[in-house]
Subunit: 133 residues, 2 copies
């Protein structure tokens, strides 16, 4: 009805990572998991082939990178493009949604990297307060 | 990240999460691990006791929360304060550094939660394109 006042406030999103059963928790884990975060970060620079990605994400196995890419593709964050070339060539790139998520993730990575001296100093204090074990 | 535009005067930080042996990768994993991220997010609201935290981080076991808190405390992100009360009471709160990290993490969580409808739609498209298995 035209006369009904509409709330100007946005409704709170119905998703909540703190709730065990919320699907957003699974996506957060894909995005921030051991390899998911590094994969999104690497693709933020531009599209990469599988083996290029594997070199960039130092330490990842072929199997884990493949699983990681499937989960990110399924969540709509990564686009997989098979080129009809010989030999066949597959490129991976971020979707627009994936870029938005990756931007937030890279801000977090920058923060951690830039504060690493403080973090390492805290570790030393923590370990020495507890003595050599 | 090396690619982040740096002030011309500032040297690039020597830490790089993409390098397997860099200690920043371990901290990123503490911060973004299954329970680390939710713990930092919960403590952003204010200090909490162990059992309050455990209720807030739905699904975490006592053992995992304890390990998570130790790793975050060792990295200087969480402060543990034992009160001389009877019964003894232990409060956990973010350090200033922990708040900086948590702010970036919460921006990422907000992004994921607010785009979850799109993410779930992408999952449906992905699954239906591959047919029922």
């Amino acid at each position: 009805m035209n006369s009904t006042p509409q709330s100007t406030a946005e409704p709170a999103p119905p998703y909540n990572v703190f709730a065990k059963a919320c699907p957003s928790r699974g996506t957060l884990e894909h995005v921030t998991g051991r390899w998911g975060g590094l994969t999104l970060g690497a693709l933020y620079e531009g599209s990469l082939r599988f083996n290029e990605l594997r070199r960039r994400v130092d330490g990842v196995s072929e199997k884990m990178l493949s699983q990681t890419l499937h989960a990110l593709e399924r969540d709509g964050l990564v686009h997989r493009e098979a080129q009809p070339t010989n030999p066949p060539r597959v490129d991976y790139e971020l979707t627009p949604l994936g870029r938005e998520v990756a931007e937030r993730l890279l801000a977090l990575i920058d923060c951690v990297e830039s504060r690493m001296d403080e973090i390492l100093a805290a570790r030393e204090r923590y370990d020495s307060a507890r003595g050599a074990r």
